[in-house]
């Protein structure tokens, strides 16, 4: 049964968005999401997570090319608009495609930033000798004593609200986890034979870290990036839903979900498609992480 579903999932995301989105077409995305959840629930079988992830990624990047209108263009009437208009008169279908891209880009950029900071700080901390370890332990404790959401709220207060602020905040709240993971691994790998050999050849510690040690930790870093991507998407959508996201009507999945929930009785299509997109990302990400983690013995 799962093997028959596999080709469906290859084209599923694109299929959902190109079919008519009125009744009963808008039921297709949530049904596909439930099927995906069922397909990834057990071990083995075809790589549904990877396939759906790939399709969603392509859709996020290229979706704006098929958007019929801009995200801020205003219309007087809702005739001829697939998902209708929002309260200000903007086309919801186009806003969904742009919002999907924005959320994905913000989450990915934030996770990438966090991963980069995590790698650098993990390296710095591992280079510090034992007496510095206490200091780093206290630094981590200080950092972790404040809940991540508080960093977001503090950051949104202190910095100018916008896409770049969101990326920076996602980055600076996600690095401690990776730094901690790397600290242990790097400390262990620094004593390995190849590192010793490089040291004897006269390489500096930094060069050893970047050219010898980090390539051995690619899987760990990549797994962390994917985990952070999932949590960043959730965080970005939640903050946008609360009204703390990018201002001036920047489209986002969180905003789409907010619009959808507001009018769920009159127009359930918007909410169902938005939540299906969102769940599609998270479920496929988690399935892919599980599979990848097991394959490379990272998690």
């Amino acid at each position: 049964m799962k093997r028959f579903l596999f080709p469906v999932f290859l084209i599923a995301p694109s299929l959902c968005l190109l079919l008519p989105l009125s009744w009963p077409g808008f039921l297709l995305p949530p049904v596909l999401v439930l099927l995906l959840a069922w397909a990834v629930a057990s071990r083995g079988g075809p790589p549904f997570g990877l396939v759906v992830l790939g399709s969603l990624f392509v859709l996020a990047l290229c979706g704006t090319l098929i958007a019929p209108y801009g995200p801020h263009q205003v219309f007087a009437s809702g005739e001829g608009h697939l998902l209708g208009l929002d309260v200000v008169g903007r086309d919801l279908y186009s806003r969904m495609l742009y919002g999907h891209r924005n959320t994905m880009v913000i989450a990915a950029a934030g996770s990438a930033l966090g991963t980069l900071i995590g790698i650098c700080s993990g390296g710095v901390i591992s280079l510090v000798e034992r007496r510095g370890l206490r200091v780093t332990k206290i630094m981590f404790q200080v950092y972790l004593s404040v809940p991540p959401l508080l960093y977001f709220l503090l950051g949104l207060c202190f910095l100018k609200p916008g896409i770049s602020t969101m990326i920076i905040l996602l980055g600076i709240t996600s690095w401690p986890e990776l730094a901690r993971l790397l600290q242990a691994q790097v400390g262990y790998l620094r004593k390995a034979d190849f590192a010793l050999a490089a040291r004897m050849r006269g390489m500096s510690e930094w060069r050893i870290f970047f050219s010898e040690i980090i390539p051995n930790l690619t899987h760990l870093v990549w797994a962390h990036f994917l985990i952070t991507l999932a949590s960043s998407m959730i965080m970005e959508s939640s903050l946008t839903y609360l009204g703390l996201g990018s201002p001036l009507g920047t489209p986002s999945l969180g905003r789409l979900l907010a619009d959808g929930i507001q009018h769920i009785e009159e127009r359930p299509s918007v909410f169902l498609i938005g939540i299906s997109l969102f769940l599609g990302w998270i479920i496929s990400l988690r399935a892919f992480i599980r599979r990848y983690g097991r394959a490379h013995e990272v998690l």
Partner: protein, 324 residues
């Protein structure tokens, strides 16, 4: 005994050091990024005398270093400044909020534990294969739902459409003069929707967390020997397996301590519980820096000893790895 007192004292000093670092970190962040925050909030149309007086009241009349020293002194005595928006001392504003957050957090945690326990028990019994399949399949969906979705759907359908439960606040407006039991019942009724909005995804996370550990225990020697001795499956589950994973449960409590103490932001905001987290959101929207700082410090002050205590209890109960 002396060793225990020394250990406790070391713990206390360590917590104080971390708290001082948190206060300094926040103060410097504010000074670097925003300068004197009162200039952002004060209406320049006020007379200069009134502006100076307000600066004095809010504690923004001196330079950065003097304000820092004064702020440290105030924090040590529990004075966290005056909130711009509420025009009241921050401590007074927080005191009423923290009770609501604690109640909601504890109530949801209790519900989550009960739901998790129910799911674990029923999915482990032989008579519920469908439930096991169902939970296996629905777990990734519920785990992936953003926190606000369940709450928003609960409000729209159970609250507005069918009017089964109240959707706003911690109690009825005109609850004074009724008996304590009636007031508690009113509080419970208002806690049901927010409680379940938090508890359902939380219980699913707990189930995912514990199921893996419970599965691994099936091959444990003590379980095999108990089975060999003829002990029933139910007794093995309750008396043997659950007891083994109890330290993990304490670790979990430690992990969810921030949510229990500081509240769940989204649910508090949507259901109108003026708890800790909702205050934070208000402070962010209104750029109320004293309140924001006060909340952060209070958060840190509650969480640091909480984490240390969870760590200590878990270490005493024998789990190897630290939460750190």
């Amino acid at each position: 005994m002396a060793r225990k007192i020394r250990a406790f004292f070391a713990l206390f000093l360590h917590s104080l050091l971390v708290l001082w670092l948190v206060v300094t970190f926040l103060f410097c962040l504010l000074a670097v990024l925003r300068g004197n925050p009162i200039s952002l909030y004060l209406d320049p149309r006020l007379t200069p005398e009134l502006q100076d007086k307000l600066k004095l009241i809010y504690g923004y009349d001196a330079g950065h270093f003097e304000r820092y020293v004064r702020y440290l002194g105030n924090v040590a005595t529990g004075e966290l400044g005056v909130s711009f928006v509420h025009s009241k001392p921050v401590t007074r504003v927080l005191r009423s909020a923290i009770g609501r957050s604690l109640w909601l957090g504890s109530f949801s945690f209790f519900l989550a534990v009960v739901l998790c326990g129910g799911l674990l028990v029923t999915s482990n019994q032989r008579g519920f294969p469908l439930l096991k399949r169902f939970s296996r399949f629905l777990v990734p969906v519920i785990l992936s739902l953003p926190a606000f979705t369940l709450a928003a759907l609960a409000i729209s359908f159970l609250g507005v459409r069918f009017d089964w439960f109240p959707i706003y606040g911690t109690g009825s407006l005109f609850r004074d003069g009724t008996s304590s039991w009636a007031q508690f019942g009113d509080l419970l009724r208002h806690s049901i929707l927010p409680g379940f909005s938090i508890a359902i995804p939380l219980s699913v996370q707990f189930v995912a967390y514990f199921e893996q550990r419970l599965e691994n225990l099936d091959e444990a020697p003590f379980v095999i020997s108990a089975r060999g001795r003829g002990v029933s499956e139910r007794r093995i589950f309750f008396n043997h397996k659950l007891r083994t994973i109890f330290p993990s449960f304490i670790q979990l409590c430690g992990l969810y301590l921030p949510a229990i103490i500081c509240g769940v932001v989204i649910v508090e905001a949507m259901f109108g519980w003026s708890g800790f987290s909702a205050l934070l959101i208000d402070a962010t929207m209104a750029r109320d820096y004293p309140l924001l700082m006060g909340c952060s410090i209070w958060c840190a002050a509650l969480l640091i000893p909480g984490y240390e205590l969870a760590d200590y209890i878990r270490a005493r109960l024998g789990e190897g790895e630290s939460w750190q």
